[in-house]
């Protein structure tokens, strides 16, 4: 049992305190008063110069929210959130009109530099083999709640792609926003989504017109930077007939003592023959080694495959946050549509992850695939919770699900809670789940060949999650691989 003792010792030494991205930028910010009321909602709406219909929409959500209760079915445990003790809006004060990136607050640029995020056009990731035609990334950077920079606008405009902060889109393309906003995640969907609908501050809006293949990967970096600021992002992506877009989202946040609430909503819509690929790397502050602090991440992400032959693919690497409550889902409405969910969820320290997906088969010959890899270390709890359902008319529905869990140490927990519902005989569902630990033999083999214990674990874990890493866009794959080894540092068993 020596190995077990060693694990215990190592877990005790976890250095989650040394969160690499734990720093804070001091910029004056423009805040709404603490607490939530109709006035807060009006304040946010006014700040954004929103049209009347948008304010009405928010207020309706707010009134609905007042009647709802916080869900408690997930396997996460946290002190009660005082929604009146949070700020619902904060924006960096505009110093002047931004003409180019050079005019951006140098503090902000410095922040991104520390994060290693390539804001400038020329800063395409180093060390990555560039495919033909040179791959580029457009960054709509969200700093706290307001987008401060948008690049590549021109080229996107040429292709007809609309990519802008959603607050701008509400003003400039109200017909599109009105048509789609809240149609995938209705304002009444769930407690956190309703809260988001009332107070969302900003986020991204993407519209890819028919037949257009978005010329570059779109990415947004979210960052929470103001003490006690609830962060409520709202993202809406629409791929019209035959369009394709790949969207990347990555997050880091500075270290804090108080828990921070994050309740984002992401809505995806694909029309006939369209495809959206949505990738996330989430690395928010997970709390310190005593489980103090850290981000509460309650996210509602849902895609609607409205048209026939459309496809939505979710890929996520979840390593951060004290609490993750997140179920990116696909509504497979169009015939022959396809949903995919690839996930790596790593929990260490006192983190609690309750994540998974929903594949709702409504159309004929719809297919879905779920690959979930959960890794639990320290004293964390890691839960996969998923739903696969085929309705009466979803003839020929197919699903394959594999959820594997890896336990590192004997103080953590890995759980699998799948719901599999078949309501017609031609549906074919396959589900498998395994839970195990890293084999001592494999570790011994690696160590004997000169690898350190940590390198050996890194190697095995990277092998374990390979199926999912392969789904990430190249730029993210590199970042994600790094993240995985950082997240597991000190937890070797």
């Amino acid at each position: 049992m020596a190995a077990v003792q060693e694990t215990v010792d190592r877990v005790r030494r976890i250095d989650v305190d040394q969160y690499r991205y734990g720093f804070e930028t001091l910029i004056e910010s423009d805040k709404a008063p603490k607490g939530l009321s109709e006035d807060t909602v009006r304040f946010i709406s006014a700040k954004k110069n929103e049209p009347a219909w948008m304010l009405e929409w928010r207020l309706e959500a707010y009134r609905r929210w007042l009647t709802m209760t916080e869900p408690n079915w997930a396997r996460v445990d946290y002190p009660k959130i005082d929604y009146q003790d949070l700020y619902y809006y904060s924006a960096p004060k505009p110093k002047k009109t931004i003409g180019s990136l050079d005019e951006i607050d140098p503090d902000i640029l410095e922040t991104y530099k520390k994060l290693g995020i390539p804001l400038r056009e020329v800063e395409v990731l180093e060390g990555v083999v560039r495919p033909e035609g040179e791959r580029r990334i457009a960054v709509d950077a969200v700093f706290d709640s307001v987008s401060v920079a948008t690049t590549f606008q021109k080229e996107l405009k040429q292709a007809g792609v609309i990519f802008m902060p959603i607050s701008e889109a509400i003003r400039e393309h109200p017909e599109l926003v009105r048509k789609y906003l809240g149609t995938v995640v209705p304002t009444s969907d769930n407690y956190f989504a309703t809260l988001n609908s009332a107070v969302f501050s900003d986020g991204s809006f993407v519209y890819v017109p028919p037949g257009v293949r978005c010329p570059m990967e779109l990415s947004t970096y979210f960052r929470i930077n103001e003490r006690n600021t609830g962060q409520f992002e709202r993202t809406l992506i629409i791929a019209d007939k035959g369009a394709y877009v790949s969207y990347l989202e990555g997050c880091t946040a500075p270290q804090r003592d108080e828990n921070q609430l994050h309740a984002a909503v992401v809505e995806l819509v694909t029309h006939v023959d369209a495809e959206i690929k949505y990738s996330t790397v989430q690395n928010w502050y997970p709390g310190n080694s005593e489980g103090k602090g850290g981000i509460y991440n309650f996210v509602t992400k849902r895609g609607d495959c409205r048209g026939n032959n459309s496809k939505i693919s979710w890929t996520q690497v979840e390593t951060g946050s004290a609490i993750t409550w997140k179920y990116p889902s696909c509504i497979l409405r169009g015939d022959n549509s396809r949903g995919e969910f690839y996930s790596i969820a790593i929990s260490n320290g006192h983190q609690q992850v309750d994540s998974g997906t929903k594949m709702i088969h409504l159309g004929k010959n719809t297919t879905s695939r779920i690959i979930s890899k959960g890794i639990a270390a320290g004293v964390s709890q890691n839960t996969y919770r998923g739903l696969v359902t085929a309705h009466r008319k979803a003839t020929g529905a197919r699903n394959f699900t594999a959820c594997d869990s890896l336990l590192i140490g004997d103080k953590c927990g890995a759980h699998t809670v799948p719901y599999i519902e078949a309501k017609n005989s031609s549906a074919l569902f396959e589900h498998e789940a395994t839970t195990s630990k890293i084999s001592e033999d494999v570790l011994f083999y690696c160590v004997q060949r000169g690898l350190s214990q940590e390198e050996a674990v890194g190697l095995v874990v990277n092998g374990f999650v390979k199926d999912v890493l392969q789904q990430l866009p190249m730029e993210f794959a590199v970042e994600a691989q790094k993240l995985i080894s950082i997240s597991l540092e000190g937890s070797v068993g």
Binding site: H415, T416, N424, A427, E432, T435
Partner: protein, 441 residues
């Protein structure tokens, strides 16, 4: 609105039931207290509905709507009808223990000349006599489940079986629950079996309805304690009337190096629910839980298993098969929990459903909750129709469509049935499956 209405109706019915039944419930003092607590728990929760996670797929407020009044004690006519039904479902080579309308029927049972290895008493005797430890054990099922609480509050009879240490009981003990059919009514029973150290026994439970018995309700529960080094083989056969309700539960505890092999087959009843909590409390124990649902018409059958590994070096296997035709609805919920100390646990669960009709439904929820790292745990679940290529292969060899289907279905459920250790009982289960297939036509 419906839900609320249903609740008020049952609320109303419940107080009536109890008023009528009060003087027929055995036990005073402590037992009466425990009954009251159980009833309070049930009244607080009402009938389970879909918002109660464990009952998500079996909403009794919609399916059952109300708890029927307690069945009258069987008269001579009832016993006669029961005896006739018993003949139809007779199993050779077993020792019969018969409960008619929820009351032990000594004349139909074979409980004399038991020898010193087995003792059998009725639940009524156990609750009225003063063995406090036994009474506590009889009340061990947890009131947190509303239907278990109802059963604890209302249990009128059943049997208490004790198998002596080191005894080997060759003849399976067969508890038969018969609904005699008079008026639609509910029966509330609870039985207990204690298997002494290094002993071994086989327990069979059947649920049948006499001719004319239709929409009755069976509320049954079983408490099992398997001693160190002991073995219990357990087979449940639900062959209730096609309009009946069968709400059963079991609480099983295993000592060290014990072995529990259980198999359940469900071909009868309109709505059935079987929930078992199996706690492996001693090291080196083995559990095999297997089951088959064969459903058609509008049948609804729910099997909910909770396997609790609390100690190291134990293994468990679960194999479940559902074949669902017409508008049938099969539910399987299997939860395996491996507690922090239960290192070296080897737990596997496989559930498969075969849908024969486009209106059939199968819901599977295989859960794993793992708190120990040095374990091998896995589950698998599949749902689908019969494989067309296999059907074609058999058709090409001259079998009719129905024959080919029957052969494939038999093989499909065979994987679970063949886990029954007792040859005669295995044959019995195979025969029951064949009868079901033959009845499909």
């Amino acid at each position: 609105m419906n839900v609320v209405l249903a609740k008020t109706e049952t609320e109303h019915a419940r107080s009536d039931i109890l008023a009528v039944a009060r003087d027929r419930l055995p036990g005073t003092g402590k037992v009466a207290d425990l009954r009251r607590q159980a009833l309070e728990a049930h009244e607080r929760l009402g009938l389970p509905h879909r918002r109660v996670e464990d009952w998500k797929y079996t909403d009794l407020r919609v399916l059952m709507r109300e708890v029927l009044p307690l069945a009258a004690a069987p008269d001579a006519e009832a016993l006669k009808r029961a005896a006739a039904a018993l003949k139809l479902h007779a199993i050779a080579g077993v020792r019969l223990i018969v409960l008619v309308d929820g009351v032990f029927a000594p004349r139909l049972s074979e409980t004399s000349d038991l020898g010193k290895d087995v003792s059998i008493h009725t639940l009524r005797e156990a609750l009225e006599a003063g063995d406090a430890a036994l009474q506590a054990q009889l009340f061990s099922p947890d009131n947190s489940d509303t239907m278990v609480a109802l059963n604890s509050a209302m249990m009128t009879d059943g049997v208490v079986i004790e198998v002596a240490d080191s005894a080997v009981i060759p003849l399976p003990l067969h508890i038969v629950h018969i609904a005699s059919g008079a008026a639609p009514a509910a029966m509330f029973t609870r039985s207990l079996i204690r298997v002494g150290k290094h002993a071994s026994a086989t327990l069979v439970e059947s649920y049948i309805g006499a001719e004319g018995a239709k929409a009755y309700q069976v509320h049954d529960s079983l408490v099992v304690a398997i001693g160190d080094g002991a073995r219990l083989d357990h087979v449940r056969l639900i062959e209730d009337s096609r309009e009946a309700f069968n709400i059963s539960s079991a609480v099983v505890t295993l000592g060290a190096h014990a072995h529990f092999n259980t198999f359940g087959m469900n071909t009868g009843s309109l709505v059935s629910r079987y929930q078992a909590v199996i706690a492996v409390a001693g090291e080196g124990s083995r559990v095999e839980t297997n089951g088959v649902n064969l459903l058609n018409g509008r049948q609804h059958a729910d099997t909910t298993l909770f396997l609790d590994h609390a100690v190291p070096n134990c293994s468990s296997r679960e194999i479940f098969r559902a074949v669902v035709d017409d508008r049938g609805h099969s539910v399987f919920q299997g939860r395996i929990i491996v507690r922090p100390k239960a290192q070296k646990t080897d737990a596997k669960m496989m559930t498969r459903a075969l849908l024969l009709s486009d209106e059939a439904e199968a819901d599977n929820k295989p859960e794993l909750e793992i708190f120990a790292d040095d374990v091998t745990c896995g589950h698998g679940a599949t749902t689908g129709a019969l494989d067309d290529s296999l059907l074609f292969y058999l058709r090409a060899r001259g079998l009719s469509e129905k024959e080919a289907q029957a052969l494939l279905i038999q093989a499909f459920v065979g994987e679970a049935i063949e886990q029954i250790a007792n040859d005669a009982l295995r044959e019995l289960a195979i025969a029951a499956a064949q009868r079901w297939l033959a009845a499909r036509g």
